[in-house]
């Protein structure tokens, strides 16, 4: 009998304790927007600039949580399951969106959607608007024009062109790069290309960004519009990709076998320190170049050229411009909180204070009609992206990789590229496996 009492007391204490916890969280009446930030490199801007300014102007608190690099999906998953989940979170495109379909609200009637200049850029489902991009980014081959000028001034150079600006095809690129490698001691570089980083978690420049070029050409040939999921992939331009991949590997600062220990940071540092002349990356890497201690590259010498792989007519193609940065508003939080989220995003991208922070500190090239020309970011790479986007006779390459069927495909493709580097897999197997895996993953995630 006594034991039963004890058990009962125990159970009641437990229940009281548990209900106590949950009651505690419900009583918060402070107006607050919870933003789960994706970009660790600019987390401090949100915390020290955006949040205080927003609170000062509107009285609404902004809670910013940032996931550690490479753990956004995991963090998002656990944060969404909590009793006070994030109101605003990021998704990387149609594939990421598929994983959080139960948590995205329709943004059609928000102010935030109204300021988006090109409505077709938003991710939609039927007539619902589910995610809105907030930053346009561009990538290609970043080169150090000082080293290029030094090369073109060499008396024994073997090419007829006179500046890096004139490189408009793979053939020209190859001729220049190989001749530069022959003269690398005179140019004072360790290799033409910065390390092809293959350390775990650092192969996204290849398995996502580089493969985008053959993907975009193939989809263009087949008339498949950007952003449309498809199982129609045969890796038509595999050999073209191989040409450039080999060029990267053979003219690198680092021997093939050692690439497995190189990170993106290493590659960017090599470029910043003037050890390499070219690195494939995007305008988000500006901070990584400018912020390296002992940086030897002058702002005016940081230039972009498109990624050429040897496809006919490629001189008319520009940088790879697109976005992987979309914001969603959580449908599972109260309508009031959703409205606050809309208010915050609209404030950030249309108020004068907000826009100043976006331009100077977040350094986004935004797709919103609230930004005038003089309000665009001024770091050298962003300026280059904007220059290429507006260049006559050149059109930007879309980000076709957003329809890669799953993260698994990228992981496997990256692993196979690594196997190719180490001589454990032939290129034709890499290509064959990429095609087969595309079909499998497409079916699995349909």
């Amino acid at each position: 009998m006594k034991r039963k009492y004890i058990a009962l007391t125990l159970l009641i204490t437990l229940l009281v304790a548990v209900s106590g916890f949950s009651a505690g969280t419900k009583e918060e009446a402070v107006k607050e927007v919870y933003f789960l930030n994706f970009k660790p490199e600019i987390a401090s801007v949100y915390e020290t600039k955006v949040a205080p300014a927003f609170e000062a102007e509107t009285g609404i608190k902004l809670k910013v949580v940032t996931a550690a690099s490479g753990t956004y999906a995991a963090t998002l998953k656990s944060e969404l399951a909590k009793s006070s989940p994030p109101t605003i979170f990021q998704t990387n495109g149609p594939v990421g969106l598929a994983g959080s379909l139960n948590y995205v609200s329709d943004l059609k009637n928000t102010q935030f959607y109204k300021i988006l200049s090109d409505k077709s850029m938003a991710l939609t489902s039927g007539d619902q608007v589910l995610a809105i991009p907030y930053a346009v980014e561009g990538y290609g081959l970043i080169y150090n024009d000082a080293i290029m000028r030094a090369y073109f001034a060499l008396p024994n150079k073997k090419v007829s062109i006179k500046s890096a600006e004139e490189i408009t095809s793979f053939a020209l690129l190859k001729a220049v790069v190989e001749d530069m490698t022959r003269n690398k001691d005179r140019l004072g570089i360790k290799g033409v290309f910065a390390s092809t980083s293959m350390a775990p978690g650092n192969d996204w420049r290849w398995q996502t960004h580089l493969v985008n070029v053959p993907l975009a050409y193939e989809f263009r040939d087949k008339g498949i519009p950007t952003g449309t999921k498809t199982d129609n992939f045969e890796f038509k331009y595999a050999n073209e990709m191989k040409q450039l991949w080999d060029l990267y590997l053979d003219n690198s600062t680092t021997a093939r076998g050692l690439l497995g220990s190189k990170s993106v940071d290493d590659a960017m540092a090599e470029f910043a320190l003037g050890q390499a002349a070219i690195v494939q990356n995007g305008n988000w890497g500006a901070a990584q170049i400018l912020g390296v201690q002992g940086n030897k590259v002058a702002d005016k010498d940081i230039k972009f050229m498109p990624i050429y792989i040897g496809v006919k007519g490629e001189e008319h193609d520009g940088l790879n411009v697109g976005t992987e940065n979309y914001l969603c508003i959580n449908s599972q939080v109260s309508a009031e909180k959703q409205a606050l989220a809309d208010q915050f995003l609209t404030w950030l991208f249309s108020s004068d204070t907000g826009k100043a922070i976006v331009k100077n500190d977040l350094m986004f090239i935004t797709p919103f009609n609230t930004f005038k020309d003089h309000e665009l970011p001024t770091d050298p790479l962003a300026k280059e992206v904007i220059r290429w986007m507006n260049k006559d006779g050149v059109s930007s390459m879309p980000w076709a990789f957003s329809v890669i069927p799953s993260g698994q495909w990228k992981t496997d493709f990256g692993a196979d590229l690594g196997q190719y580097i180490n001589g454990k897999m032939s290129w034709s197997d890499v290509a064959k496996r990429a095609v087969a895996s595309w079909k499998t993953e497409y079916d699995l995630t349909k």
């Binding site: 304790a17 995991a74 969404l80 399951a81 497995g260 799953s406």
Partner: protein, 280 residues
């Protein structure tokens, strides 16, 4: 006294019980239940029956990592226990500075797995540098790297358990054997080994289960590279759950299978080595 103790016991048990329920029992039951659901966050799912379990075997990666894991565990259980046992023998001979050595050998155990992984990544990549290779150039580098790491981390800990075991052996017993003319090999085989059998049981249990549960070292050292060839079970489950869209339930089902598997192996081992324990 006894009565007071009994009356107040629940109060003292309560904090531990609450933490046990929150941190262990609830997640475990949720995990089991979730393995039958299709879900993206753990609080929201649709019941799908056994389909997650069937989908485990749509590709072979679970089986591959199981095989990798078995090989790894076999090698580490043997190497850790043998090395730890001989270190313990050496350090119970009354060598000068015994305590200093014991402390030094035990220290790697105090460092977390991720940090250990990074340290060994530097060491191994440094060793492979002249060969123009890194730990992820070839799966065999990764395998032996993981074995070296596991040994370095666990030998000290197992050594302490073996030392305790050896110290409990009655000196008279060894002396008696010596007088009977047993040489050092026979003393080891017929007196010391049977007497430390309880320590062997616990050490094999610990190394066996930690071999299967290895995660952070695996993540930090190779992250499964090259081409997932050094990906062991825990990492495979983690990758399934977190990096594959719509595979959360499958990851959960793998975790349940994993738990059952490790429990079966560990219990079998316990039963088998217990039988060999002797009363001295």
């Amino acid at each position: 006294m006894d009565k007071t103790l009994r009356r107040w016991a629940p109060l003292f048990v309560l904090p531990a019980l609450i933490s046990f329920i929150i941190a262990f029992l609830v997640p475990m039951i949720m995990g089991l239940v979730l393995s039958f659901f299709k879900f993206s966050t753990v609080t929201d799912g649709v019941f799908v029956g056994w389909s997650n379990y069937k989908r485990i075997f749509t590709d072979m990666d679970f089986v591959t990592s199981l095989w990798m894991n078995v090989r790894f565990t076999v090698v580490t259980v043997i190497s850790i226990n043998i090395l730890a046992f001989f270190l313990a023998l050496l350090l119970t001979q009354g060598v000068k500075g015994t305590n200093v050595y014991r402390t030094i050998f035990f220290m790697p155990n105090l460092i977390g797995g991720i940090v250990l992984g990074w340290i060994w990544l530097l060491i191994i990549n440094g060793i492979l540098l002249p060969r123009n290779a890194t730990i992820i150039t070839d799966a065999k580098y990764g395998f032996w790297g993981l074995v070296a790491l596991a040994n370095w981390q666990n030998i000290g800990y197992m050594m302490v358990i073996y030392i305790a075991g050896i110290q409990t052996i009655n000196r008279d017993l060894i002396e008696a054997a010596q007088i009977d003319g047993a040489n050092s090999w026979i003393r080891l085989k017929s007196v010391i080994l049977p007497s430390v059998m309880p320590a062997i049981t616990i050490c094999t249990f610990l190394t066996l289960t930690s071999g299967f549960k290895i995660f952070d070292q695996n993540l930090a050292l190779t992250a499964g590279n090259p081409a997932r060839q050094t990906e062991m079970l825990a990492l495979n489950i983690y990758n399934t759950f977190y990096t594959r869209t719509n595979f959360e339930g499958v990851g959960q089902a793998k975790a349940v299978l994993f738990t059952i598997l490790v429990a079966i192996i560990a219990l079998t081992q316990l039963a088998a080595t217990r039988q060999k324990e002797v009363e001295a």
